[in-house]
């Protein structure tokens, strides 16, 4: 699992910490972090992670725009949208832009484990 790189993009340092804590318990600990959509796109191009968690509502560039950019750069990008309550419309747009899955805050360990299993099982 050491070679697996996971991008976590959220403007909330608390949300990033909570997500990292759950993912670490699942055995993955190679993280790339970003705090807005532009930074996520820049870091994605540099590191080309195996999985990206992207918040929807962020400053500078939101999650939907970041998904569009990332998918333009890498059509096979595996992106999971992190949604908060009240962002249903944006969530729908994110899925239309090519997000593979979504998870709602606050994070449930089992939902994250399922996403990791779906992405990395059988690699």
């Amino acid at each position: 699992m050491e070679n697996v790189k996971i991008l976590i993009c959220d403007d909330s340092v608390l949300a990033r910490k909570q997500l990292k804590d759950i993912i670490k318990k699942c055995g993955y600990d190679n993280f790339i972090e970003a705090s807005n959509g532009q930074e996520a796109f820049d870091r994605y191009k540099e590191e080309q992670p195996d999985l990206a968690f992207l918040d929807i509502v962020m400053p500078v560039k939101d999650g939907v725009e970041a998904i569009r950019d990332i998918r333009g750069f890498d059509p096979k990008a595996y992106i999971v949208v992190v949604s908060s309550v009240g962002t249903q419309t944006q969530l729908k747009n994110a899925i239309l832009e090519g997000a593979r899955d979504f998870v709602q805050k606050p994070f449930s360990s089992s939902a994250i484990a399922e996403i990791l299993k779906g992405r990395f099982e059988g690699r």
Binding site: V57, V85, S108
Partner: protein
Amino acid sequence: MHTQFFGNFLLNKGVITPEQLIEALKIQSSTHKKFGTLAIHSGYMSASEVADVYITQTHYDKRFGELAMELGYLTPEQVDKLLTIQLPNYMLLGQILVDQKILTHIELENLITEYKSEYEIYELDMMEEQKNLVDKLLSSLYLPEELPNTQNIISYLTLLFNNLVRFIGEDFTPLNIMTLPEVPTSFCVSQMVDGSFAFMSALDMDPETAIAFASRYVDEEFNEFDEYVSASMEDFLNLHNGLFSVNMSNDYTLELHLQPPAAHENTVLATESPCYLLPVIYSFGTVNFIFSVTS
């Protein structure tokens, strides 16, 4: 739910001082049992089931018992049973004030009678949280007369009080709302919400209060005012506004769009409209809630 209104009633009557109320709330907070805890103690639910309901509550504006039934953790009979053993909180607050020798039993009895007749409370069951009752209390106690979009704001404040109860604790008392052209803040997080009911919302508190607020919200002990504490305040505000936007969409087909929350230090909040400042007194400090309707 109604402890805070009874507390405000006593303050407005001049029966107790804010300091006495804070002291009583401190004692009450250490003796309070949450509905979930009662469910565990009664053997009706496991701790993980209770945690599941608390998480689900962050997605839906529903009461604990209602969600627990929907999730199949409790039967209606069990909820009824738990409701009967829930401590009636304003009675508890009154009892603490008697214990502190601030009130006599007779004074308390008279004040409760007066409070009940003034606000037409016939139910002693504090878990009822009836929306109409809360709306009535809000309109009669706290709202400035010139408030725009009153119905939306009442819905917003009702949800705020419910969210404070759910996520921070019910040992609080809201004071009367102040109308101000601008609000100087200390450690503040704000969030703009766009749409046909656009508004600015913010939480402001001193660092010590913020640490205690974040510790309760995240259920993790914070010891210093750091980025996690600030992010916890943002998260609460974002969650609250998110739930409000869902309610507005469901109830009034009013679509709102949340901007990312932002943190500020020692700034002055102002919009082109008046700002409304609602101080909420907790046992650990005062949380200032600031609100301004921008459209």
